[in-house]
């Protein structure tokens, strides 16, 4: 994981957790939050909101939407309670955001395992 330091704000240090062609998610240790760079904006998510976003995205039945022949708009509105951000996503964007989140949570799990094995156990 690559460290990116902002020159003008030396306090805020971001680390890239996961990135794809369509976006990236960064973690800020000092702020204990994540920044999602996706669909043309950078949005800040704390612990609760990141989990709510994950749940909202994972709960969309993409397969059903792909097979549906409804004439309704092919757009999904992702609204999260008590969170400043919402997303209005096309089906393709939804798939890309899901991919980004899946990768992110795999990396966060991996980071957790590394912490447990390397730093939290007396060897």
């Amino acid at each position: 994981m690559q460290k990116t330091k902002e020159l003008s704000f030396p306090v805020a240090s971001f680390e890239e957790v996961f990135a794809t062609n369509s976006g990236a998610i960064f973690q800020s240790d000092s702020e204990k939050c994540w920044y999602i760079d996706f669909a043309g904006k950078l949005a800040r998510f704390d612990y609760r909101n990141l989990l709510k976003l994950k749940k909202a995205i994972y709960n969309v039945n993409i397969e059903e939407k792909l097979l549906s022949s409804d004439k309704t708009a092919d757009v999904e509105i992702i609204f999260i309670c008590a969170c400043d951000h919402s997303y209005v996503l096309s089906l393709l964007e939804l798939i890309k955001l899901k991919e980004l989140l899946q990768g992110t949570f795999v990396m966060l799990d991996l980071n957790h395992i590394i912490y447990d094995r390397l730093f939290r156990v007396i060897s």
């Binding site: 957790v17 973690q27 240790d29 204990k32 612990y47 989990l51 966060l108 957790h112 912490y115």
Partner: protein, 176 residues
């Protein structure tokens, strides 16, 4: 990079989900017992109605115990929807047979949570679950003894009246 997820919550996502399902199950049990209390009362089995009122109260306490544990560990406890509660029973005996089935299925689902905890070495939650395993011993004992009264006493004549009287006296006091 800090392990923020772990700092915020002791429970893994899987264990949290399983406990939330258990919260729903306990809430469901509580409602079933309340419905059984209603049926027994309507049909003149006062002691059994009391027995089920008490059981309903206990299940509510179990639900809250799980609920508070999830919150105490930093997780998200979900207040459950409870639907599809059976309101009518075909016989006095059927009520007790279903009560026993209910307890067996609760024991089984708590065992399922414990199996998951073993898998991920969540000894903290395992230790918490021990209280429930002890409780289930008593719950299944009482439910089984109640069903057995139907064979021991028999339903003929004043049998059901006798059974009802004895239901209130079932108790489990094993120290083992």
């Amino acid at each position: 990079m800090k392990d923020i997820m772990r700092v915020k919550c002791l429970l893994s996502e899987e264990v949290e989900t399983l406990i939330n399902q258990q919260i729903k199950k306990e809430a469901h049990s509580s409602s079933i017992y309340l419905s059984m209390a209603s049926w027994c009362n309507r049909n003149g089995y006062d002691f059994s109605a009391d027995y089920f009122f008490k059981q309903a109260e206990e299940e509510r306490q179990h639900q809250l115990k799980f609920f508070k544990y999830v919150l105490d560990m930093g997780g998200n406890a979900v207040s459950p929807d409870v639907t599809n509660i059976k309101q009518e029973y075909n016989s006095f005996r059927e009520v007790f047979e279903e009560a026993l089935e209910q307890e067996i299925s609760v024991t089984q689902s708590i065992k399922n949570i414990a199996a998951r905890c073993h898998k991920e070495q969540d000894y903290v939650t395992l230790e918490f679950l021990n209280w429930f395993f002890r409780e289930q011993r008593e719950e299944e004992y009482k439910a089984r003894r109640a069903v057995e009264l139907f064979d021991v006493i028999g339903e003929e004549g004043t049998g059901r009246w006798q059974i009802d009287k004895h239901v209130g006296q079932i108790s489990y006091d094993s120290e083992a």
